[in-house]
Amino acid sequence: MISQSLFWTVTILLGIGTFLIRFSFLGLLGDRELPEWVSAHLRYTAVAIFPALVTPLVLWPDVTGGEFDPKRLVAALAVFLVGLKFNTVFAIIAGMGTLYFLRYFWG
């Protein structure tokens, strides 16, 4: 369960922080170049966080009590491959579809 105080603290601070990131150069810093080494790091923030976040959710999910479930790993690989080749929406459909398919036949 997510408590009210945790939810509102996170939501409000996240809202302010996200706005400040978006507003940074447009509103506060104006028209100036980011140093190359800064943009080189910023470019990889999303690909640096998402895979780490996903790893435990795929390998030892809470709903199975932390047990490894090969069906979930196969479904995750399906999302990845379809996402590499096509787009996000097809990848999501492929991933959930694979999980349902495997569960239907192997329980």
């Binding site: 997510i2 945790l6 939810f7 996170v10 939501t11 409000i12 996240l14 922080g17 996200t18 706005f19 990131i21 978006r22 507003f23 940074s24 150069f25 447009l26 509103g27 810093l29 104006g30 028209d31 100036r32 170049e33 080494w37 943009s39 080189a40 790091h41 910023l42 470019r43 990889y44 923030t45 999303a46 690909v47 640096a48 966080i49 998402f50 895979p51 780490a52 976040l53 996903v54 790893t55 435990p56 959710l57 390998l59 999910p61 809470d62 709903v63 979930r72 479904a75 995750a76 999302v79 990845f80 996402g83 996000t88 929406v89 990848a91 999501i92 991933g95 959930m96 999980l99 349902y100």
Partner: protein, 236 residues
């Protein structure tokens, strides 16, 4: 708005319209997943209106469910949005002339798709007037940003009707992987993603979900270093 700029506004709107195919199901999925995590409909909506950034909303909900400390949740969810500082820097020379309130509005609604389209348009049409640039950007935003609210609401309302057999909790990792895979268009991106997974497995012993921050930092540096390395090799 002048007549010609109204046309440019609709140009931006129509150019961005195909992205609704991605935004609609993605927003609905957020509504569904957030309800599944135990949030009330008004909380889901509050989050979509206050934060209006899908990736960090998914990150925050997943980590709140894990009962991670506030600082870890904020660092991870904000890190995901840091790329938008780059967008802001890239847009400033084109839209910096607008009034402060207008810049605040377009900063609030900044999304990947409208940014990518606008910057491409400004490069293609170098003689665009500043007013036309602004009209185009606002048009592109209008095509997708309001849909984010509407479709999270729809998702939040129908979410409760989906039974547990559909393993909706698995939609969260599925969504993250589906967002990440298309981003892996260069070797440094692949390196960063690989280091990220490896570090996540090795750092699980860390308390307070700090493994996520450590893995993120390490992977980000790995990506940047790989990029520098490739550049040096190309120059040599």
């Amino acid at each position: 708005m002048q007549h010609s700029n109204r046309r440019v506004f609709w140009h931006g709107f129509l150019d961005c319209a195909p992205f609704t195919i991605i935004v609609v199901p993605y927003a609905m999925l957020f509504g569904v997943v957030a309800r599944d995590a135990g949030l009330a409909v008004y909380e889901v909506m509050a989050m979509s209106v206050i934060v209006i950034a899908g990736a960090s909303q998914f990150t925050a909900v997943a980590l709140m469910q894990e009962q991670a400390p506030v600082i870890v949740i904020l660092l991870a969810a904000l890190a995901v949005n840091l790329r938008m500082a780059m967008y802001s820097a890239a847009l400033a020379p084109h839209l910096g002339h607008l009034r402060l309130w207008a810049r605040a509005v377009l900063a609030y609604m900044m999304v990947d798709q409208s940014f990518a389209l606008s910057v491409r348009k400004y490069a293609q049409v170098p003689d665009m007037t500043p007013a036309a640039k602004a009209a185009y950007y606002f048009g592109a935003l209008t095509a997708v940003a309001p849909l984010w609210y509407i479709c999270t609401f729809v998702g939040a309302v129908i979410g409760q009707a989906i039974p547990p057999i559909f393993a909706l909790e698995f939609a969260v990792p599925v969504c993250f992987i589906a967002m990440t895979a298309p981003m892996l268009h260069s070797l440094p991106h692949v390196v960063a993603a690989f280091v990220s997974v490896l570090a996540a497995m090795l750092f699980q012993w860390m308390p307070y979900n700090l493994w996520l921050i450590a893995a993120g930092l390490l992977a980000m540096m790995a990506g940047a270093q790989a990029e520098f390395h490739l550049k040096r090799k190309a120059a040599a």
